[in-house]
Amino acid sequence: MRLYLLSLLVLMISWLPCEEVCAGDGFVLRAGSLHTGLRAIDDGVLIIEDGKIAVAGSWDELHSSIPDHLPLIHWPDAYVTPGWIAASSQIVPPHQAPETISAAYRAADGYNRYGDHRPLLETGVTTTHLSPGEHRLLSGIGAVVKLVGDPGKRILRSSADLSLSLTDAVDGPAALLKIPFPASSDVQIMPPDPQRPQSRIARLLALSEAITLSEQDSTAHGELRVAWESTLPLRIAVKTAPEILAAVSFIEGKGRSGYMIGGEEVAKVLSTVSDAGISLALRIRPPGADLGFASDLPTEGLADLPALGAGSVLALAPPTDDLAMLQWAVSQAAAHLDDPADSISLVTHHPAQLLGVEDRVGHLEPGADADIVIWSQSPWQVSAHPLEVFVEGKRAWQPKESSSTVIKADTIWISPDHRIEDGEILIENGTISAVGHSVPQPPFARIVDAPAGSFVVPGFIDCYGHLGLRGDRGAAGTGDRLYRLVGAPDEPELRVARAGVTSQLMTPQRLQRSAGAAVLVKTAGKDRSDRVSDPVSAVLLEVAGHPQDALANVNRLFDQGKKYLETWVKYQKDLAEWEAKKKAGEKIEVKEEEEEEVVEEQAPDPLTGIWEITASGGPLPEPETAKISIQLEGSNFEGRVIEPAPPIPVRITGTLEGTTLEGTIEVEADVLPAPPKIKAELTGEDGLTGTISVLQFSADIVGTRTSKEAKTFKVERRKKRDDDGRPNPPRVNLALEPIRQVLEKKIPVVVTASGFEVAPKVIEFFSNKELLLTLRLDQEMRHHAELLAEKSVSVILPIETTFSVDQKQITPAVFLTKAGINVAFQSLAADGARALPHQAMQAVRSGMAADAALEALTRGAAQALGVSDKIGTIEVGLDADLLIWSGHPFEVGSDLDRVFIHGEEVPR
């Protein structure tokens, strides 16, 4: 049948659970620190419903009243603030019209409401002011918008203010040219009209003149009268102290509401401004800006800010066009405030008040829009970065996936003789990239600051278990690939992960002919590729019975494996030779060899012909149809799938006895865990019914013969060499591939040996070949401690902590560790593997050293499985499988607080 159809069977086994938090329908956000824009709350919680804040308060007060149906997002280390408000921005550039005073230009016109402004959310800003420009005396009408959201609703206020400017930029505007109509001798072409102001002194004069003119002529200056008579606040851009004074007197003189933007020299005229009670959106002089004649340094004068905020509203505006500079301004301001948390109001609630949008944004009290920024740490820290941004309750921005995490803990346990007190671990892309007392903090790094007493250990490893088989009790051989059963983690896997077991050697319940292949699987991760790194991680063998012939099977297997390895070694040698020759430019002789074509043709018979076969039922959601050409020769048949054309030729071979048809589909290496089997009965002349099965899955098939003439195929024998003399690789033998890897010393053999004399034979066999060996032993092991120690073989401890022999209690863990033998734990269970730490605890109780037990769960297990280069300890380059305990795992009262697998936290 179809190849991909069969892979479907496998896919169905590993269905993907969907655990995405659907933030649209409301959720609960709990954070270590929360600032609503008005107040700071430790361990605060927000309930978001319909894009609005429904409840805000502290967790202690509210956690009992939180509705159960809402998903909870918990950021224990993060600092949550309202979306910031940029009191000025360059998202709409200054208008390009020549008029120095005109109310006709509206900043809202220039805003691309369909534009994708998400990259700007990285600055924590979600709402921004749009200005028609500060380059004209009166440039037009400003607006306030959100950066993301429904295009129809992004504009909060399309007319927010009348934008004036008294800065130097307004001087010397170009003259106005009026184009005459119609162009004729009757209509004079006038010289361009010069415009004011040409100097500082003329600015206020020109403004007053324009206002007077607009009172007489409503159309003058872009219908200025309408705008002037409306209640729009004046927004006056100022910079130097004289400009600030001019703006104050202008606003007071006209009796209008208004505020100033800029005012970098405000410290010089502080008393005037605070007496007048005029609000200010302050732009701190950016770092590196020219000081000119100003005597003070950029941030001098910030100390007086609290005084300025007394009678009016003080907000911070981004010092430059770059919105990211707003955070710098906050960090500068926080340094001068009694409580640095007060700086949050300067960029949230205060600018919202200035811009007239405080009813919707700028705070996180009930009723406000759920515009939320989750910061990696206190936002006034220079290294703080947003981890997530929500706008109206919807997740609007997240950093790229390659984000990093920094874990800070009191103790980092690496091995019994190596701990780091008060250390930090940097995790990047799922691997540990730095360990030490202080590690670098990349941008957007998530900071996990574990509480006092915290104890970080590597993730625990279960050396023999059945998690992920989902109750499959079938036997599997060395040719079967268990990793194909692995998909996204399901509840049992997560239960095990939450218990601290981060990796498990996944083994079949029974071995086929006493041999099988196992795979090392992470207990959590996004998908299969996240959880499995190699298709085969260990070869499993069972050796038992009479010592004379117990190893016969193993011997035969390894002999075959050796021959198989040799074909590959030869191929690699040939290839290397060929490449060397080719590099040297030598001519390569191509021998004509083993090339033949066989065209098969046959007379019609009960089976030969083209069959249309439909498979249905079983795991197939819909019936699938394929056309197969079958050729009968004697009682053997051979077939090919011809439609739908498979990507590689698929051969079906089998036998026909009477009317019973039995066959297998030959599948190329690594595609399926086992070759699919067909069993069918011929019905009538041109029909058949039967089943097709893979492992324990099967589907019904029904077929009809559509033609009695089989399609003939050119059978091309495998050539040993390509036309250019390049050697072809030998055929892959799935069953021997794991043995080859063992012989190449890439993976270990895990041997279950039982019987007094068997274990030494096994040890002898494998240590003579210098192969990686790990043993699972029975009680008889007590006699072989010396041998085990001598050959440094790792031992996987039996499930029973102790057993009594001859009325003597023997604790293998104690007994073996004393002899200096590396030990590891196994669970022999599926989700029962979550008891593994408990098992270690039992061993500790029976006398094993706590650190030794910890080592057996981590580094020892990794060594036993030959994966010390990937997992098992906390070293640079290893997978970030980490557990944060509240104390030493085997001390009373210690709890496992958090689990990280591949740097991702396992949800609780």
Binding site: V92, P93, H95, Q96, A97, S102, A104, Y105, R106, A107, D109, G110, Y111, N112, R113, Y114, G115, D116, H117, R118, P119, P132, G140, P151, G152, I179, F181, P182, A183, T219, G222, E223, W397, K400
Partner: protein, 522 residues
């Protein structure tokens, strides 16, 4: 603008001269009053397709459409279209290509008319015929605030007057910034145009009312507000000045409003303007860029749209960098917005064919009928000329295209085009195509002996040529000593009345092999 007037004057003088020269010929080449196209698969667009159908044209109007059994008047010139497909000519709903310069220098120029800029000598018109386009809505380009007035033309004729079928169709506006502008300035100027017009109109109304009060004794002077309201209805056409005439026509419904939106964010101001000025029944949005993102607003407003040639929109995600492709017509179909397509004027080659653009619709899931309708009757509806163009129906203008196969197939081509019943294009006499595809040598047959067939074919070819030459020589001998176009007319006369397009010096009967005629011509 001045230079444009000047230029068009020059063009006029030149063509006037040319027309004088050609006048006698044109008179003699009057179109046959009745033409019957028979035997073709007739795609009517408005109704079902007719196999072996007949279309009867009288005086440029379709007077009957039927199947093979339809009676053909004895005096009709019958054109055998067996094996061919006859479809309505495509309609180009928005073209600035026929203009000598597509845009004005002035941002606000509602007083101009494309009349002054249409250049009949443009290859564009010739190409339109070649590609099966029979009706073109010529309009100023998108680079304006308020542009001039458009008109509907046929791609044949020697002067804009001769080409025009409908003058004063719509005014072009744009809410997307013209070159050198930003959106603030664009929209401020656009608002100012109509604010200024309203002020002028109010003054005019008041003045008119006062005039009427002076004339009519029954009327009493009123306060200005009421006077304005009453006077508005009294404004006569002759009161309108040059500057505001077209704006007034736009206001009273004589002109449509076509607004260019180059981005989705420009759609909302355009719709607001349409709503405010009450142009809903005659407004069309010309869309570009990501405008389809505003499809919901467009659908709610009920305004029709014209899409540009780029039918696939590629959006790069600002965060992930993934590119997402959208097939724009599918978006509008889903929201039930009526849209028209335009071919590109300078884009990649296939997109210059409306047939190709329509075929892309089929590929995206439209039915063949829907796709054809979009480029014919649908476009006519959007231009407001569906009563005259866009389908093969009795009473409609006979703008017909004879295709060699289905119009949506890339392998079919336009064989003949009739515009108002006049044979305006014949591929067999397309001199430019002939130059482009000169008589190819016999293709070499690969892999087979050249001896038999190759020689035989060559022999045949020679024989034909010889015959042609002989025929030509005979004709030359008997009729005219110098091979000018006259003999052709001689040839055509005995069999059928000459049907001659206005811009073609000569024509030939449809059933004569082309090479023979060409040979005779030489």
């Amino acid at each position: 603008m001045l230079s444009k007037l000047h230029r068009s004057l020059r063009v006029m003088i030149f063509f006037g001269f040319a027309m004088l020269l050609l006048m006698p010929m044109m008179v003699s080449a009057a179109a046959p009053s009745k033409v019957a196209l028979t035997g073709a698969r007739v795609i009517t667009v408005s109704g079902a397709e007719i196999e072996g159908g007949t279309v009867l044209i009288e005086d440029g109007i379709i007077t009957a459409v039927g199947d093979g059994s339809m009676a053909i008047p004895y005096d009709a010139m019958e054109v055998d279209c067996t094996g061919m497909v006859v479809a309505p000519g495509f309609i180009h709903p928005h073209s600035a290509s026929g203009l000598d310069i597509p845009n004005e220098n002035l941002a606000v120029a509602p007083f101009v008319d494309v009349y002054d800029a249409i250049d009949p000598s443009r290859f564009f018109f010739e190409d339109s015929l070649r590609n099966g386009v029979s009706t073109i809505h010529v309009m100023q380009g998108d680079n304006c605030v308020v542009g001039g007035v458009s008109r509907i033309v046929h791609p044949i004729g020697l002067s804009p007057d001769e080409m025009t079928r409908m003058a004063g169709v719509a005014i072009k506006m744009s809410t997307s910034p013209r070159r050198g502008y930003d959106r603030l300035r664009q929209l401020a100027e656009l608002r100012e145009v109509f604010a200024e017009y309203d002020r002028w109109r109010e003054d005019l109304s008041e003045k008119r009312f006062e005039q009427e009060v002076e004339k009519d004794e029954e009327l009493e002077a009123l306060p200005p507000e009421e006077a304005r309201a009453k006077g508005d209805a009294m404004v006569r056409d002759e009161d309108l000045d040059d500057r505001h005439r077209h704006l007034a026509h736009l206001g009273d419904g004589r002109l449509g409003a076509w607004i260019y939106c180059g981005a989705a964010t420009d759609v909302a101001p355009a719709l607001a303007l349409i709503e405010e000025r009450g142009w809903k029944d005659r407004a069309v949005l010309v869309l570009g860029g990501d405008s389809h993102l505003a499809v919901k607003e467009i659908a709610d407003s009920g305004v029709n749209v014209v899409l540009n040639e780029e039918l696939v929109y590629r959006k790069r995600d600002a965060i992930s960098g993934d590119v997402e492709e959208t097939f724009i017509p599918a978006v509008f179909r889903k929201s039930r917005v009526k849209f028209a397509l335009q071919p590109s004027s300078n884009g990649s080659l296939p997109e210059r064919f409306l047939g190709y653009q329509a075929a892309r619709l089929v590929r995206a899931g439209f039915s063949r009928e829907q796709a054809l309708r979009v480029v014919t009757l649908g476009a006519a509806e959007i231009c407001g000329v569906d009563d005259r163009f866009g389908s093969i129906e009795v009473g409609k203008t006979a703008n017909l295209v004879m295709w060699t196969g289905d119009p949506l197939e890339l392998t079919s081509w336009v064989q003949k085009v009739w515009i108002e019943g006049i044979l305006a294009y014949d591929r067999e006499k397309d001199a430019r195509l002939e130059r482009l595809f000169p008589e190819a040598p016999e293709p070499e047959v690969v892999g087979e002996p050249l001896q038999d067939e190759g020689e035989g074919e060559e022999g045949d070819g020679k024989g034909d040529e010889a015959e042609d030459e002989a025929g030509a020589a005979e004709e030359n001998d008997s009729n005219q000593p110098n091979g000018d176009p006259e003999p052709l007319k001689e040839n055509s006369k005995p069999e059928k009345p000459a049907d001659k397009p206005a811009d073609k010096p000569a024509d030939k009967p449809d059933d004569k092999p082309a090479d023979q005629l060409v040979g005779g011509g030489r």
